[in-house]
Symmetry: C2
Subunit: 216 residues, 2 copies
């Protein structure tokens, strides 16, 4: 009964499996998570994974496809917003990415893992498509800012994006280290994350300002 169509609506049960698998994959890796682990956590039978998604790998693809559409829509809406300046939009993008990184850490851990891995060709292709689409939109935004004279010329969009994604990812994956070094282990989780997000936000905004903004 399962299908791989690009346009696919998932049932509640399937979404439940997807969400739980996402957490487990992010936590223990794809290879480190067994179908039985997923079945147990989602309180379903082992066979259901193959039944719904064809295979374990099919489940992984389903996880990514569910996010692809969401990101695309959000970016396209922002880009067409006429009420904000290019740099304001850039700030919104930074904020959105940080929020998304922190509110959906498991998913982004999974993305990072998948990028490191060289298996799962269809999954990698899907990730690359996502990324290319997003980057094209941001490129258009930067070109817009260059036309109005707000932004400098000769901006390497990919390096800029690598810095945003890479820094956010690095901060996220090493947050325990950060917490330890700065003696913030006593702080409640929520408060620590709030501070960390604030620091990351101002750091990235300073970087983007230095790279993007014209001095005049």
């Amino acid at each position: 009964m399962w299908c791989n169509s690009d346009i696919m609506e998932y049932t509640d049960k399937q979404v439940q499996i997807i969400d739980i698998a996402q957490d487990l994959f992010a936590e223990n890796g794809y290879d480190g998570t067994s179908v039985r682990d997923i079945a147990k956590a989602a309180d379903i039978n082992v066979a259901m994974v193959s039944y719904y998604f064809g295979s374990k790998e099919g489940l992984l693809e389903a996880i990514f496809s569910r996010h692809a559409e969401y990101v695309r829509l959000k970016l396209e809406n922002l880009i067409q917003d006429k009420s904000q300046s290019p740099f304001q939009k850039m700030e919104v993008i930074i904020d959105s990415y940080i929020d998304k990184y922190f509110s959906q850490q498991p998913f982004h851990k999974l993305v990072a893992r998948s990028q490191l891995s060289n298996s799962n060709k269809p999954v990698k292709d899907m990730l690359n498509d996502m990324k290319k689409r997003n980057q094209d939109l941001i490129k258009r935004l930067i070109q817009e800012g260059q036309k109005t004279g707000d932004f400098k010329k000769n901006i390497d969009v990919q390096m800029l994006m690598s810095t945003m994604l890479g820094t956010a990812n690095q901060v996220m994956t090493t947050q325990d280290f950060y917490r330890e070094v700065n003696n913030m282990t006593d702080l409640p989780d929520e408060e620590f994350l709030k501070i960390l997000k604030k620091k990351l936000r101002s750091h990235l905004q300073a970087l983007f300002k230095a790279i993007l903004k014209n001095e005049d």
Copy 2:
């Protein structure tokens, strides 16, 4: 016969196993690499891994411990070099990191993987120790630059390092994507990497300059 002492010299055979395992772990992940895979690639018997390193996990620890000493020495030598200005030293650090990232990609992929993983407590502790030591050294370097007036006050060392490591890592893990988008697939590997390194280098140096250097 195997041992876990901090000071451990490895035999040629052990080093051979370590090097090959490093590549395989980086390529397919720790869980994605079987002891039999390692044995086959290193042309040894399966039992040799347990014999030499106690276990598969012991082998992973051995891989990291071999790098720890090297990095520490290099940084300490640089920091004590009186012939260079603080910012020159910073540039050297950037260059060294980039060189190391690109010349030892498998190892750094493995580090990235291990940071994402939440298993392997002893390995994570070792990585954190490495990182803390390195960051302390760089902190001292920055404080030195602040004393001479070369650097700004209020510099978040960890955010700065997160940007360097994160950006380098992101560029490395997505280099195929970068290559594709920029129509550089026809270029020889060597030439492409040279260009990519150059771009990354100037990008990071611009970032560091904007964050570190005083304007006066």
